[in-house]
């Protein structure tokens, strides 16, 4: 590079217009950049202009652009986003003896099957389409499962069929999914016929403190994976003195194995909106955001449509049902970053910055979006709220006989006969999930291990098959429930390879802020690639353990602290296999 003569250039009219349509709001930078990317106009010059038009430093706009995986400085006409998550990997690798190792080769091999020379193929860490694995995103349209035969038809418009969840499995207890298949998700009239917004109506007849007391009494625990009591969080927000207060729904469902939020939005979007409004009424918030991951294009559109319909019917918006309570929900699309599921990173992203986690404390209930008290809850948590308000805390408690009350959406994947999603009370064992709900292991498959909870979950062997899972007891016994997913693997899958796929995911999604996670995930992946390939060296296990310990102890945020969960569980549950892999 050499120094060029710097001359003043006015901001390009295209950028000025885009900035103007977004009120020159710096928080709208992701929308503006996404639009520029769609037009193929994303380059350092337009990025600098965008920054100038929004009154922010150029590096910030550039940092944001390069942070999110869906944005690219290369103009692209037609894009295939190929899912590179562990479930899709498992589906693709099944039946192959070779184990796919490098990320480039995954996408490369995959692209070969699709006759799309003029298409840009990009990898995505996980598309949230695990029930349609192997999945792809064709110009932002969800497609799958893509077998080699179907791959040829992708460019001709083949998209596959979304999984149908309208019929409950035997033994299911449906609360959040009660109306799945019964209501038309795109019609509020149909939703209203099935009792939508009844929970909100009953909430509005109570005082906000009574609503919080009801939710607290129900024992509803957050469904993002950590299980923090929802009622207590709402109480913190309601008690925080600063205003305005905000409600945020975390729909940045980017963890491999997890797709429950997508199903909830697809089957019953009004249930979520209603839950958010209840939360808003309880916390004293009048504005809310749904932070939905950029890959869920259809779901974001569905939510926007639902919000519009609900506002027209007076179920949301100003003076809801004549109660004087007003509540507005906005949909905010992400652009591809798992870390934005961490609540403080999500808030940073919502504020138009790089999605890097904030220092905690202060926590969002006291210092969240725009520095104001903010309740961030998962889609599933909000979706549970309407039924609790309608039927009462005692009813919700009666659903489960275990420490965590209520029902949970479970995702069952891998080598079982009927993979997919189902709803059941807490306290399910892995064996029940496989045998009672999943129709048992596939023919010729014997249970070897399962990844439970999500990518940041535990890798467990057969000895933990009978542990009833809830947020209280599971983790103590070494098996985590997390967001409620099980990836069941048979004898053909190597534990080291599965762990490698997980580290591949974490290394790609680490935000890079702190050293232990930024370099630790990368180094752990390097070791696991070698081990899974049968080229392990002496000392590998010890180094992996040391990296894992350091990530757990010293990482900045929950992402780095969660990576050791699968590593440690795999190393302790399958110590022999790893020792063998060393030589």
């Amino acid at each position: 590079m050499t120094n060029r003569k710097i001359t003043y250039k006015p901001i390009a009219p295209e950028i000025l217009e885009l900035a103007y349509t977004h009120g020159e709001n710096r928080e709208a930078i992701l929308e503006i950049l996404t639009e520029l990317d769609r037009r193929g106009h994303l380059n350092p010059e337009t990025i600098t202009d965008t920054a100038r038009a929004l009154g922010i430093p150029a590096h910030l706009a550039y940092g944001v652009t390069t942070f999110y995986s869906m944005l690219s400085l290369q103009p692209r006409d037609q894009i295939l986003h190929v899912c590179d998550g562990p479930v899709c990997w498992l589906k693709r690798a099944s039946g192959q003896s070779t184990v796919i190792s490098k990320q480039s080769s995954v996408v490369g091999d995959w692209a070969k099957e699709i006759p799309a020379d003029d298409w840009t193929v990009e990898r995505t860490s996980c598309l949230g389409l695990c029930d349609r694995a192997p999945a792809i995103l064709v110009n932002n349209e969800q497609a799958g499962p893509v077998t080699p035969e179907e791959a040829a038809k992708v460019c001709e418009g083949w998209r596959g069929v979304p999984t149908d969840y309208s019929v409950p499995r035997k033994g299911e207890v449906r609360v959040m999914l009660a109306n799945a298949g019964k209501v038309d998700p795109d019609s509020i009239d149909s939703a209203l016929e099935h009792g939508a917004y009844d929970g909100l109506k009953s909430a509005l007849q109570k005082k906000p403190e009574e609503v919080i007391a009801e939710v607290e009494a129900s024992g509803l625990q957050g469904r993002g994976g950590a299980g923090f009591p929802v009622g207590r969080k709402w109480k913190f927000v309601a008690q925080a003195r600063r205003t305005p207060r905000y409600i945020i729904c975390n729909a940045d469902e980017s963890e491999p194995l997890i797709f429950k939020d997508r199903v909830l939005i697809d089957t019953n979007p009004h249930q979520l909106l209603e839950g958010m409004a209840i939360g808003g009424y309880a916390c004293g918030a009048n504005e809310a955001f749904i932070y939905i991951r950029g890959e869920y294009v259809r779901q974001a559109e569905r939510l926007e449509k639902a919000i519009q319909q609900a506002e027209e019917k007076g179920c949301l918006g100003e003076d809801i049902f004549g109660s004087g309570f007003s509540f507005h929900i906005h949909v905010h699309r992400g652009a591809g970053a798992y870390i934005c599921g961490e609540e403080t990173a999500l808030i940073e992203s919502l504020e138009g910055k790089r999605g890097e986690p904030r220092l905690r404390p202060p926590y969002p209930p006291t210092y969240g979006y725009r520095g104001r008290p903010t309740a961030v809850n998962n889609v599933e948590s909000f979706s549970a709220a309407p039924s609790i308000l309608k039927n009462g805390a005692a009813w919700w408690k009666s659903l489960s006989s275990y420490a965590t009350p209520g029902t949970k959406l479970y995702m069952l994947l891998g080598h079982v006969n009927n993979p997919g999603l189902f709803e059941a009370p807490f306290g399910l064992t892995l064996r029940q999930a496989i045998d009672d709900f999943g129709g048992g292991m596939q023919d010729g498959s014997a249970f070897k291990f399962a990844l439970t909870g999500g990518a940041a979950g535990t890798i467990v062997g057969p000895d933990l098959l009978n542990v009833p899972l809830d947020y209280a007891s599971g983790p103590q016994k070494g098996i985590s429930l997390g967001a409620g997913a099980f990836l069941v693997c048979d004898q053909s899958v190597s534990v080291a390879a599965m762990l490698r796929e997980l580290l591949h995911f974490f290394a790609a999604e680490s935000c890079g802020k702190c050293t232990p996670c930024r370099v630790g995930t990368w180094r752990a992946l390097e070791i696991l690639v070698r081990m899974a390939d049968g080229k392990g060296r002496k000392g590998d296990v010890a180094e992996l353990q040391a990296l894992s310990d350091n990530m757990l102890l010293a990482s900045f945020c929950g992402l780095g602290q969660a990576v050791p969960i699968p590593i440690n569980s795999a190393l302790s549950n399958f110590a022999e296999k790893f020792e063998k892999a060393e030589k």
């Binding site: 350092p44 600098t48 590096h59 940092g63 220092l359 990482s555």
Partner: protein, 372 residues
């Protein structure tokens, strides 16, 4: 409000809102830091300052964790040392093994910590440079991102001290790096070459171009001086080697400016030993001979040799100046003369000029460049 805490078994008190690092430093306990700097807002990025707090599942970064009542802190437990060592190793893994030729060797915070904790570049690390060396054409600042440990002190120094927002962070995870503007050159990203980023860089990622390779920390004598450019009075150290000034370095103890300097103070020192520097007064030749000012021919481009500058001694030069001032004052009156003094002069000199102008010349036409 104070809280009772225990550091390394020693009961003590901390005021509410104080971080562990602040309390430890008050008590003479050294907790190592890299991304932390007292002038910048703490971020907790590097994880070197982690300490063990009783009953906490994770280690806590001392630079950002506030002391609370009953906190029991271990700053150098086995667990802590192990974690610091590994984090250092992870940083070194991405760091070239070129301390032997690196300009900042000897005053590099990473090197000091690696020495203190006896951590070397791991066998698997340092697989060669990932970025071009000396990658930015800025005339003063040398950029070598291979040596960067992503502490982001440069980003903060640029944003919080100089408020130019040149440096930023791009990409994420292992690919993350520091970048100027939208991936442009520094100057295009509004850099004014103040060098604050260099002063705050703990490693050799950002260093000075003008004296790169001229001397290392232990080879120079540091002479603290006050900047002669303007009236602010910034202090810094001149780096002197073999009786020659080879560079300027911020002095953290400078009362006015701390580590901050402007481009002139930090990089405008090359006039000191410049061959073209004026060391004696010069006058036009015609003034020496006492002849009249020669006319400049409009036709000819050749200028009379009477216009040439001639070196002379101070007495002659001052005599000529006094004579000419007298002539002007006699012919056009004292208000035809005006005096501008300079911030490069001492207070005493400026005072004398004031007296000279008002009492000797007899005019109030006096001003100063720092009055603007």
């Amino acid at each position: 409000m104070t809280v009772n805490i225990t550091i390394n078994g020693q009961p003590t008190q901390a005021s509410e809102g104080q971080t562990i690092l602040q309390v430890a430093r008050e008590h003479g306990i050294r907790i190592p830091t890299l991304c932390y700097h007292k002038d910048l807002s703490p971020t907790g990025n590097c994880r070197i300052c982690v300490v063990e707090v009783a009953k906490q599942r994770f280690l806590q970064a001392a630079c950002v964790t506030q002391a609370w009542e009953g906190m029991e802190i271990q700053t150098h437990s086995e667990k802590v040392i192990k974690s610091r060592k590994l984090s250092l190793e992870l940083m070194l893994a991405n760091h070239p093994q070129d301390c032997i030729t690196c300009d900042v060797s000897g005053e590099c915070e990473l090197q000091d910590l690696a020495y203190e904790y006896q951590v070397s570049v791991p066998a698997w690390g340092s697989k060669g440079g990932r970025y071009p060396v000396d990658s930015d054409p800025n005339p003063f600042i040398r950029v070598d991102m291979n040596r960067c440990i992503l502490c982001r002190r440069c980003v903060q120094a640029c944003a919080e001290i100089q408020v130019r927002d040149v440096w930023g962070v791009t990409q994420r995870g292992f690919e993350e790096r520091i970048v100027a503007g939208a991936g442009t050159t520094m100057l295009e990203a509004r850099c004014e070459s103040c060098g604050q980023c260099v002063a705050y860089c703990p490693t050799g990622a950002l260093s000075n171009k003008m004296n790169y390779g001229l001397a290392r920390a232990h080879q120079v004598k540091k002479v603290t001086t006050t900047c002669s450019y303007c009236g602010v009075g910034c202090q810094f150290d001149l780096l002197v080697k073999d009786e020659k000034v080879i560079g300027v370095q911020s002095n953290p103890n400078a009362p006015v400016n701390g580590l901050a300097l402007c481009v002139k103070g930090r990089y405008g020192y090359d006039y000191i030993h410049h061959p073209d520097r004026l060391l004696k007064p010069r006058v036009r030749r015609y003034l020496l001979g006492g002849s009249k000012k020669p006319a400049i021919s409009k036709q000819s481009s050749v200028i009379s040799e009477q216009w040439e500058w001639v070196e002379t001694d101070w007495d002659t030069a001052l005599d000529i100046t006094a004579r000419k001032l007298n002539e002007i004052r006699g012919a056009s009156g004292p208000d035809s003369i005006g005096v501008l003094t300079s911030a490069k002069c001492l207070n005493e000199e400026n005072y004398l000029m004031n007296k000279f102008t008002r009492q000797v010349v007899g005019t109030n036409n006096i001003d100063h460049c720092a009055r603007l």
